[in-house]
């Protein structure tokens, strides 16, 4: 026993004094020293952190077999068994960099992406509402990015030589059919949805993913927000309307619901700002939306968004054929949109996205030929072209979509996504002529699509995304298969070179299908894109060149009733161009600006064009400058935009009965387009302590300098007059005030600026 005790006493100091030094150098697989990695003897206090040369050194009194571990975020963990005997240990270690979202190359060709997580460059909801020319409209802000046209006579995104119908808008994966308010002749309408509904936007000017289809040119992919930060009520007051809403967040912060109602009436604004048209019923809108969002146990989400809008407007505009006559146009619209979607994590890196949407649209349009005293002109002689100016048009449409996408992620960022979707559309329009005769055209379609896509990272610096999409249209009874591919390569300085290629198909527009019994196929576009992009430290430079080839575009010709209908797929065209973008949030404090320039060379033969020509929506040169500056001492943000577009062509096309085709009777180019926009946001309660109300005042002015803007020309059909298409008013001024009640966010707004 005594011996045992002696042994125990003897061993303690031995253990204390026999220290062993362990040292070495840590490098990555390219032999670059790694600083700040943690080296540890697992389960003991002993270890070190590597210095700037990658060296580490520490002493330990541990004995025997131990595990030495090296860890560093973004790198693989290194573990090695070491036997500590008494001699110092020297161990050089090499660990491999992992492919993570932070260091890997990103697929950017063709796309502008914005979300907080991704290091994207495009527009967040805050960017959209602070872009002076956008007037709080999502697509208005996108028009300051390269690739888009400054088309002001009709709504939608005209991208790289494509028409507005070639750009589709998706919300949480599902197509939004009537994203814009119903068209008015010669006036661009706004998007229906509030920019703050969305937390992420991807605007693809071409080469977009196989997960989306039915858009020859462009896809705008919007992702709705998750849970609100807190319960909040809001109220908006402006010269043109009121709106109020509530967002209620559950106590456990796992679910929320919200409700908003808005009423807009442009009468007071039109009383002050004279419009070219005589709005005898000023535009009036009732809008209601509702949502709920539930966070699931596995970190997924179930989200519902429902929207309903009823609006009407009526105006008189002088008739193009006659100086004394005028057209009274009347529109009533009822639109609903509902979208429920579920995204879920199933474990083992499996994810699911499922969405179901349903929407309806109802337009009642009436046009009446009136004399100078606003009395109806009864014309009943069809030989006289004026007769056709008295008509009614009733459009009824229902759409539904079901979509499921599965995603499986592998090591690194490698992933496979696949899924299927089904679109149902049922569109019917009834045309009532001056004599009461009615023509009804109904078009029903079921489009079924399946798609698959893979993200394949060869190293963190080079990656490929390969996809394929197949679609079947019941209406045309035809299949298509569309391959998509993009490759991205990252340079050492974080610059990126990307390529994108893809084939895109689209069905004809319903309005050209009425009464057409021609055997049609899909219109087709092929995109080739090369991009260089570099983002560093709040600055982005991006340049892109593209070539786009159109095949099988729809040609139209008049049917027996004189209505233009699709007659063949014999159209074609091409577009090529260069685009530049620069955004800088860094150089000047509280100032953010971007510049974009697009050059577009495009020609197409489609619809009733007599041959290949530059379409009337395509300007060769387009440029934008957007500046935002927040002046802290006066709590005010000043935003300005300048937009330029070179003149666009316009044509008078007349049907020649002898040659049985349209001919160009007259043509020209519009003057260049220039517009300066200005807006101001004043936040009086910013920084007021204990303020429970957050207030934002907004003032915005379009075309501040009152420059003359001509979007194109309309030609009379009976006489030989032509008339410039100009905005309803030279300038528009908006004043509004938005209040939100809840816990004051101001404090938070601040830290952010530091």
């Amino acid at each position: 026993m005594r011996r045992l005790l002696f042994l125990a006493i003897w061993m303690i100091p031995a253990g204390l004094f026999a220290q062993v030094n362990i040292s070495g150098k840590l490098t990555d697989n390219k032999n670059k020293p790694l600083q700040g990695a943690s080296i540890a003897l697992v389960g003991t206090y002993d270890g070190a952190t590597t210095d700037s040369a990658g060296n580490y050194s520490f002493s330990t009194s541990e004995k025997g077999n131990q595990q030495l571990q090296a860890t560093m975020s973004g790198y693989g963990t290194y573990t090695k068994n070491v036997s500590i005997e008494g001699a110092d240990i020297r161990l050089d270690i090499s660990i491999k960099e992992l492919i993570t979202e932070l260091n890997a190359v990103v697929f950017t060709a063709g796309a502008f992406e914005a979300s907080d997580k991704k290091k994207g460059t495009a527009l967040t909801s805050l960017d959209i509402v602070t872009t002076a020319s956008a007037n709080g409209d999502v697509t208005g802000a996108l028009k300051t990015l390269p690739g888009t046209q400054q088309v002001g006579e009709s709504e939608g995104l005209f991208v790289r030589g494509g028409t507005a119908t070639e750009s589709k808008i998706f919300m949480d994966g599902n197509l939004v059919n009537n994203f814009f308010y119903s068209s008015l002749p010669g006036i661009a309408t706004r998007g229906r949805f509030n920019p703050f509904l969305f937390k992420g936007t991807v605007f693809s000017a071409g080469g977009y993913s196989a997960l989306y289809g039915q858009a020859l040119s462009s896809a705008l992919i919007l992702e709705s927000t998750d849970l609100p930060e807190k319960t909040e009520a809001s109220l908006g007051l402006s010269v043109i309307g009121v709106n109020g809403g509530i967002q209620k967040l559950a106590k456990n912060k796992r679910s929320s619901w919200g409700l908003t109602y808005g009423y807009t009436n442009l009468a007071p604004a039109f009383a002050v700002i004279r419009q070219k048209q005589d709005f005898f019923k000023s535009p009036e809108y009732h809008e209601l939306d509702a949502n709920f969002r539930i966070k699931t146990k596995r970190g997924g989400f179930i989200k519902y968004y429902g929207y309903g809008s009823w609006n009407k407007t009526a105006f008189r505009a002088s008739d193009i054929d006659s100086a004394t006559l005028q057209n009274a146009f009347h529109l009533q619209n009822l639109n609903t949109y509902q979208n429920i979607n579920w995204r879920e994590n199933f474990g083992r890196r499996w994810k699911m996205f499922a969405g179901l949407s349903f929407s309806t649209n109802k337009d009642d349009i009436e046009n009446e030929l009136q004399d100078a005293d606003d009395k109806k002109v009864p014309v009943s002689n069809p030989a006289d072209g004026y007769a056709y100016k008295n008509f009614q048009l009733a459009n009824r449409a229902q759409y539904a979509q079901l979509r499921i996408v599965m995603e499986k992620r592998f090591k690194g960022l490698n992933a496979v996504r696949f899924g299927a979707e089904h679109f149902y559309s049922n569109e019917k329009s009834t045309y009532t002529l001056y004599d009461g005769s009615q023509y009804t055209a109904a078009v029903k379609d079921n489009i079924t699509a399946a798609f698959a896509e893979t993200d394949f990272y060869i190293t963190k610096d080079i990656a490929a995304k390969l996809g394929v999409r197949g679609e079947h249209s019941e209406l045309m009874d035809k299949f298509n298969v569309a391959p998509r591919a993009s490759i991205a390569y990252k340079f050492k300085d974080n610059g990126q070179l990307s390529f994108a290629y893809g084939i895109f198909y689209q069905n004809p527009e319903r309005k050209y299908l009425a009464g057409s019994d021609i055997n049609l196929g899909f219109a087709k576009a092929s995109h080739y894109i090369v991009q260089y992009q570099k983002t560093a430290d709040q600055r982005t430079f991006r340049s892109e060149i593209f070539y786009k080839k159109y095949d099988a575009l729809y040609k139209t010709s008049p049917n027996s009733n004189g209505v233009e209908v699709a007659s063949s797929n014999n159209g074609n065209g091409s577009a090529q161009g260069l685009e530049l973008f620069w955004r800088d949030k860094k150089t000047l404090k509280f100032m953010d600006y971007w510049v974009s320039y697009s050059y577009l060379d495009t020609k197409r033969d489609y619809l009733n064009f007599p041959g290949k020509m530059r379409p009337n929506f395509a300007a060769a040169h387009t440029a934008s400058l957007v500046i935002k500056n927040f002046v802290v001492p006066i709590k005010t943000g000043f935003n300005a935009t300048y937009t330029f577009a070179s003149g666009r062509p316009y044509y008078q096309l007349k049907y020649d009965n002898v040659q049985q085709k349209y001919l160009v009777e007259d043509k020209g180019n519009t003057i260049n387009y220039n517009s300066v926009g200005f807006s101001l946001n004043y936040l009086p309660n910013l920084g007021k302590k204990d303020s429970k109300t957050f207030i934002v005042w907004v003032l915005s002015v379009t075309n501040v300098l009152g420059q003359k803007q001509v979007y194109g020309y309309n030609y009379a059909s009976i006489t030989d007059r032509k008339e410039a298409i100009t905005p309803p008013s030279r300038r528009f001024v908006y004043i509004g005030c938005f209040l939100s009640f809840g816990v004051d966010r101001t404090q938070d707004a601040i830290n952010n600026n530091l």
């Binding site: 026993m1 206090y45 907080d116 930060e229 966010r745 101001t746 404090q747 601040i750 830290n751």
Partner: protein, 212 residues
């Protein structure tokens, strides 16, 4: 003899537990002393690693992970490139979650949660202030509620205010009130042990001094 052996084994057991805990206390004290004398980002990182190793070895102690997270946050603020702070915040959060699962609803841990949110916000203020700003407030409020005597939530709030321009409701005037409350609370604050959190008092004096 048997009894003696049994007694000896028991005694050895007790001794080793004590030795273990003495070793733990010694290591913690040594590293806490180093915290006070360190001023570089790199030293914050290596202290964070030191605390993390102690935490991993001890498993049932929340303080090592708490300090490891705190040092990681300090490293995040000091390393210079705010755009690269996200992975640092992620790592700090991972460490803090370990402390949180050992010692839930702790006022000190809530303070560090608020600091992590501040770090995340500074990466991209314009886009993140709504989400992270709310988290900062919520965690500081929770910290006050979990321990009314803890001066650190007041100190952190005061420091945030002081760093905020007066036009945004910050500045010295706004900060002073909160910092004075923090000062009073520091005066009567007694840490639970030699190694329990007990930092910030000198910083409050410094801030108040700057606001004179």
């Amino acid at each position: 003899m048997k009894k003696f052996i049994l007694g000896f084994i028991l005694l050895a057991g007790v001794l080793s537990v004590n030795a273990q805990s003495e070793r733990y206390m010694a290591a913690m004290k040594k590293n806490l002393a180093a915290v006070d004398s360190s001023a570089t980002a790199q030293s914050m990182l290596s202290l964070s690693d030191n605390f993390e190793r102690i935490g991993n070895a001890e498993k049932s102690q929340w303080l090592p992970f708490y300090y490891a997270a705190l040092m990681q946050v300090r490293y995040g603020f000091m390393q210079g490139d705010m755009s690269g702070a996200d992975p640092i915040a992620d790592r700090a959060e991972k460490l803090l979650n370990k402390a949180d699962s050992i010692q839930p609803k702790n006022s000190e841990i809530s303070c560090v949660k608020a600091m992590i949110a501040t770090l995340r916000m500074i990466v991209n203020p314009m886009q993140r202030y709504m989400e992270q700003g709310t988290l900062i407030e919520q965690n500081l409020d929770a910290a006050k509620e979990q321990d009314a005597t803890n001066p650190r939530p007041y100190y952190l709030k005061g420091e945030n205010l002081k760093n905020t321009p007066a036009q945004f409701g910050g500045g010295c005037d706004a900060a002073k009130t909160v910092l004075n409350t923090a000062k009073e609370k520091f005066a009567s604050f007694r840490p639970a042990s030699e190694i329990a959190p007990n930092w910030g008092a000198s910083r409050v004096d410094m801030l108040l001094n700057e606001c004179k």
